[in-house]
Amino acid sequence: MHNQTTFLSAIRTALGETPNIERSKSTFPKLFAAPDTAETLKKIRSRTVTERNELVKILLHNGNTLNISSHIVESLPEAADLVVELIRSTEPEFNYTKHVIMHDHPDIAALELWKRFNREAVTLHTTFSRDRQITDKTIASFIGITAPTIGVADSATVIQLTEPGRPRSTSLLPSLHIALLRRENIVADLAEAYALLRQKSHLDSFVFISGPSKTADIEAHMVYGAHGPRELHLIVLAEPELEK
Amino acid sequence: MSEKTVSLFIQCLVDTMFPETGEAMITVFDRLGVAYDYPPGQTCCGQPAFNSGYSRDAAAAAKHFIDIFEDTEIIVCPSGSCVRMVRHHYPELFADDQAMHSRALAIGAKTFEFTQYLVDELGINDVGAHFPDTVTYHDSCHLSRSLGIADQPRTLLNNVRGLELIEMRDSDTCCGFGGTFSVNYPEISVAMVDEKIDNILATKASTVTGCDISCLMNILGRIKRRGEDVQVLHIAQILAADKGEKR
């Protein structure tokens, strides 16, 4: 704390303020003032299905330019078919056996992937909170499946919050990242996304993901799969609206 | 036509090395019936000192300039960087001197670059010139970036009879002059002007023009050294041509 005091005094001196008198943030209410998001939140909530479908289209289109492989499905079983196909058709990059790591999320559980692999050597792991071996299992996995909280159409971003049972590494260490996103969770732009984030009372770490890992450091040649996943598969779950 | 008398602010390089540019301006004004005078005693706007950091010495030049030009109606100069010096930097130089500061602001407000004055102030797009040749135009940095003058010269050129304007690649990239920079870092400066010249040559235009003699001097100097066959003219010279003569 001693360091902090002298450090901040030096700043106050530089700013022409009294060095030893701490300035309080309450004296500068505008400094942390943030625009009211009520309107934005209302807009997000009141979107019609047509409008949401429009956002899906934009998200997919923008994702395409970022090399995101995207799929629209109408039901969880349909999503499961896709995932199964990806698991079957992809060869592990760092291991010889097929391990898949999945976030502890109701939509992912509802895929019931365990039912699909009774004759193949595919091991499925879920990142349950108290499992101490999660890191090892994640390192062993070639596919990671998450269900991001928010999708952003304009920047083709999925926002992954760190929460109990939803660690950071699931979308990072495997060669393939599959993000399962409900149409309802897609917003138009970052302004809307940040408004939703501000709603959260507690934010642990989180990450914006806009495409597969990439680098252009060697002669500006674009290569996917630098350190993170080399493929990002976005599965948008757009269930048909029930007649009201 | 404006009733105002234009006071010619002839940049030192034009005065000493390129007087034909000044004469060309006069020719254009004559043709347009614009009255002008040439306040005696003018020297240099102070830019070389200012850009080298010698702001106090630049301020002396600025003071001299203000004394000379204070009583004029309109000041027109065939060089964008000098106009910028007067308009943007004179007030800065006298930030601590209220009286001089206001004088500087007043001078700046009535100082115009040649093409800007013609197009924006006089509303002239066609000066009645005839110049049957292919021409490419270099955007001088201070002119285009700082004063926002890019369309005016093009408008005027496009209305010159017989003239075909061919845009070069990266016309708004610096030619590498930079005042004392060109003398202090000649290798870098020459590399920059070489690229400019390559872009000029690529247009196959037989003339390159611009609104700032400093850049043109740099380009000319390198073109001559390389022995390239491109003529370098200040835009006033093109606008002054009316007999269809190729210069």
Binding site: N3, A10, S213, K214, G228 | S52, D57, A60, L220
Partner: protein, 491 residues
């Protein structure tokens, strides 16, 4: 053929200009990203955004003490440690102490220019640790024992075959110059390092005071790795890299990634700050934020230069600067190159020491035009030159070139009194005669002026100056009459 002694800057600049690889890379880089950014700014819907972000950057600088105190409070509340380091040594000592306590043997780094500014790598290595850069470009630079030459694209001066040879030598792979294969080799090698490291060391692009997060952008994912897998994460933060609120973050980060690589967002924007919790099984067990001054408060104190602290280090100014575009990054001899480097390096590390950086630009203004936060770098370059011209106590700067200063004092006399000016011209006109060559141009001059004539001809002083012509024709005329004839004045 100049006989002038050459500075290191000039020698390195010439080396850069002589490298075909570098020239090709710089050319395509500027073509794509420089022009791209200008187009992006022109076409952006929200034309007010850049001004707004600049304003918030400046506002945050004015309240920096409050923001940093708030940030520290929030990070600590999340269980992180915060250390305020007045200078490089302080930051190094603290990091070493953290490393020692945690028995760190291997450190993985996310790209951080600040880490280069404070030269922490060598300190860690001397303490017996292995330090591994994980950004592919930086990793290549590290393997080659070279220096980065661009803020965002560190190894643009190296070609693929050089990198191929390097990987064969250092990683033991069969030679290839295929970028995907080379990337795959590095991916594998670095994954091992990243998964086994004891400490992740990163910079901080933007900290958010209101939430206590620091945010980091990357395309490769190495920064996510370095902040997630090792048990300790140390983030080095320049004290000015802070926003007050998430809303400010949203706009600022978008300008950063657009300026840097024309991206609406980089592939990853990670918000971290604080160790993992018991519910959150991965992530570091310890998080340390080191907030570094190292000369910044001195810049903050000077209204003339405070604006440079608004920089978000996107590197866009490199992508348009015609000087950087010729000479590349090495000549700047600093972790910060290009226009931003030319301003910040002298301010942080000595104006006299880096006089060439202050003087080696044309002040064309392109950097100001492209800068997402519209920083007036040319104004500050002129300001730095002023310190060199007259010396400055505040900046502990000596007059750089007394001879030049004397010359400008003379110049001042001459331009302030036109008879002297006119006489001087006449004398010069007489003196130049022997030098005027066949094409009516001066081919060679002596002394300083040789800088011009080494590569260019110079037009001589005209036989009659404009003033003389005017006097002859108009001396008697009271009223300004249109001029009738025109005399051929060419020499």
């Amino acid at each position: 053929m100049s006989a002038k002694p050459q500075s290191q800057y000039c020698r390195d600049a010439q080396k850069g200009m002589g490298s075909p690889r570098l020239q090709a890379s710089l050319h395509s880089l500027q073509n794509r990203f420089g022009k791209g950014a200008m187009t992006l700014w022109a076409e952006m819907d929200d034309q007010d955004m850049r001004r707004r972000v600049k304003q918030s950057r400046m506002k945050n600088l004015d309240h920096l003490d409050i923001l940093l105190a708030e940030l520290a409070k929030k990070v600590r509340a999340r269980g992180g440690h915060v250390h305020f380091a007045e200078n490089a040594q302080d930051a190094i000592d603290y990091t070493l102490e953290v490393a020692r306590k945690n028995e760190v043997k291997r450190v993985v780094k996310g790209k951080s220019m600040l880490s280069m500014e404070i030269a922490i790598d060598s300190a860690l290595q001397e303490a017996g640790m292995e330090v591994v850069e994980t950004d592919l470009g930086e990793y290549i630079i590290q393997l080659a024992d070279d220096k980065p030459s661009h803020i965002i694209a560190p190894c643009i001066h190296m070609d693929r075959s050089r990198i191929g040879e390097l990987f064969t030598e250092k990683l033991g792979i069969n030679y290839t110059d295929d970028p995907p294969s080379l990337t795959a080799a590095a991916r594998k090698a670095l994954r091992e390092k990243l998964l086994s490291a004891d400490m992740g060391l990163t910079g901080c692009n933007l900290a958010c005071a209101a939430t206590g997060h620091i945010s980091l952008v990357s395309n490769e994912g190495n920064i996510r790795m370095a902040t997630t897998m090792p048990p300790v994460h140390v983030a080095l933060m320049g004290m000015e890299r802070i926003v007050a609120t998430l809303d400010e973050h949203r706009e600022t980060v978008q300008l950063l990634t657009r300026g840097a690589a024309l991206q609406k967002l980089s592939t990853y924007v990670s918000f971290v700050g604080g160790p993992s919790t018991s519910d959150d099984p991965d992530g570091p067990k310890e998080f340390h934020l080191v907030i570094i001054d190292n000369g910044r408060s001195k810049i903050l104190a000077d209204p003339e230069f405070r604006e440079v602290l608004a920089c978000i280090r996107c590197g866009a100014c490199l992508n348009i600067c015609p000087v950087y575009g010729r000479i590349g990054g090495h000549a700047y001899n600093s972790p910060y190159c290009g226009p931003i480097g030319a301003v910040i390096t002298p301010l942080l590390d000595g104006i006299n020491k880096h006089a060439d950086l202050c003087k080696g630009e044309t002040l064309c203004g392109a950097c100001k035009d492209i800068c997402p936060v519209q920083i007036d770098l040319p104004r500050m370059l002129a300001g730095l030159r002023q310190k060199l011209a007259y010396g400055s106590d505040r900046w502990n700067t000596k007059q750089h070139n007394p001879l030049e200063a004397y010359a400008f004092t003379l110049w001042r006399q001459v331009v302030s009194w036109s008879p002297l000016y006119r006489t001087g011209l006449k004398i010069a006109r007489l003196c130049q005669r022997p030098f005027v060559g066949k094409n009516s141009m001066i081919k060679r001059m002596a002394g300083l002026a040789s800088g011009w004539t080494d590569g260019r001809d110079l037009p001589p002083i005209a036989k009659k100056t404009f003033t003389e012509i005017w006097q002859k024709k108009h001396a008697t005329a009271e009223v300004k009459l249109p001029m009738a004839t025109k005399e051929d004045n060419n020499a």
